[in-house]
């Protein structure tokens, strides 16, 4: 279960503002990366975000450059999930591969305002906001397994161990 406040943004949030290009070569540890999350879009975010908080955005979240730090910096900042109307596909993959829940729930995006309390049960496929429930179709089984295992590499390691 994911529970936190909403950070609300618009359409086409690109990876350059999620994790600025000027930091992509400094090979940072996660705690350091978290300090720069969304720095060029919302300078307050990194300082005020709390574990479990949720990013709520419009269409095409994560477009542009393929840099994976755009996903990993959000994980490091403790973001519980990103809810958007749609995602750029490279970002979508990067998020799942790093264990970050990403959901396309357009109606919920319209309803949720900045700072609202949001609760998400990914296994049941439900998002709760102001007493209303939004149902979303479950992610494909392989994707859910990767998320449950905390990302792609841990997922395959686990699968290989099981196979013996």
């Amino acid at each position: 279960m994911i529970k936190g406040r909403a950070w609300k943004y618009g359409d086409d949030v690109n990876t350059d503002v999620i994790f600025p290009g000027r930091y992509t070569y400094a090979r940072m540890e996660p705690e350091e990366m978290a300090k720069h999350a969304l720095e060029d879009l919302d300078p307050k975010f990194a300082a005020e975000v709390k574990p479990g908080d949720v990013i709520v955005a419009g269409k095409n979240f994560g477009c542009g450059s393929s840099r994976e730090q755009a996903a990993t910096c959000l994980v490091a900042a403790g973001v519980g999930a990103v809810i958007a109307k749609s995602f750029a596909r490279i970002f979508f993959r990067n998020a799942i591969n790093n264990g970050l829940l990403v959901l396309e729930i357009p109606e919920a995006v319209d309803a949720i305002g900045p700072g609202d309390e949001v609760e998400i049960d990914p296994e049941a496929g439900v998002l709760r906001h102001k007493g209303r429930e939004y149902r979303f179709p479950p992610l494909p089984p392989t994707v859910m397994e990767i998320l449950r295992d905390g990302g792609l590499i841990p997922h395959l390691k686990k699968a290989l161990t099981k196979e013996g």
Binding site: Y25, N60, E68, R89, P140
Partner: protein, 416 residues
Amino acid sequence: MGKTAIEKIFAAHTEDEVAPGKVIWLKLDVRTARDFAGANVVKRFREAYPDERVADPEKTFFTFDCNAPANTIAYAQNQQTCRVFAREQGIRVYDVDSGIGTHVLLEEGIAVPGATLVGTDSHMNILGAVGAFGQGMGDVDIAFAFRHGRTWFEVPPTMRVRIRGNFEYPVTAKDLTLFLVGKLGARGALGKALEIEGEAVEALDMAGRITLCSMATEMGAISAFLPPSDSLWEFVEGATGRRDFPYPTADPDAEYIQELEFDVAGLKPIIAAPPRPDNVHEVSELEGERVDTVFVGSCTNGRYEDIRTVAEILKGRKVAKGVVLKVAPATRRVWGRLLKEGWLEVLYDAGAVISHAACAGCAQGQLGMTGEGEVQLSTGNRNFPGKQGKGPTYLCSPATAAASALFGKITSPERL
């Protein structure tokens, strides 16, 4: 039910059922990393798989192109991190002297019709130009692909775009491409595979096919596929000595999520104004705007044909006073052909600064960035704020770039 082009490639590379929305485990013929993100791939690999080997060094490559040769110590360090790993693992490095990775993969016959390739370049889908599936991915994905030779992928639905009519020089593949980016918008093909067909598409030369496929990313698409053509097979034969590859052509009863049709008869030269690639206009609407810098190159327009077009326009003339014309061929091979045929001399005489082969301006690499207020015309593919510096960037064809460099202001090549 019939299959679309991408479904055909996938079906030949998986045991799983291939249908839109299904997640499959996809076998990868080739996995690459460039100097951008390459060092992070190495770091991820070492953390996740200490003391393990890549699945197949023969199918694994590094291609250094973003900042080549490195002009910051951080970049140089990242490249060296990749080289050390490559030596340990027996992986081939296309080093800083090679050119843009995706183009090197095409020229070397590593990207062939029907193949699957992944890398850390978000324009890997340019490989659709030869009927290959190319996909840009993040560090973990590529580290995983290096180790296991496969990845998970959600089969995208396919959208078909029919182009009716034809166009003539000075309208070129880039104008068609920008026209489509404008029609579809940055999200028009989001998460979908594109099939673009029509007489005008089949008539494109290889450079034109590359231009069109390179901007699938700017339409939000996973990848774009084109019908095969003589120019394609000539190129493939030149690179591999073979023509017997399974070209992915959609079945007649393939299912499309959406079908669109555009008429390009009478198409005019197109330009994308800041701040987005889909902010397109006819060049004539913006004519007369002052230009400081003109950049010719990139994975979108850095082929021999692109740069020769510029040289032909500038032959015997000079770029306008106060304009800096920057030229970066896509690869060392393109560079050499332009040199040996005398085109670089033509460009030199016209006043151009000529760089070695790499991504150059597009990746803030060699050839510099723009300062605030510095107006740049680029034959590249992205003009987001900050992408190439502080100045506003317009995207256009090599012909429009050359005409504008001559006059020092945005100029349609129709005036030449």
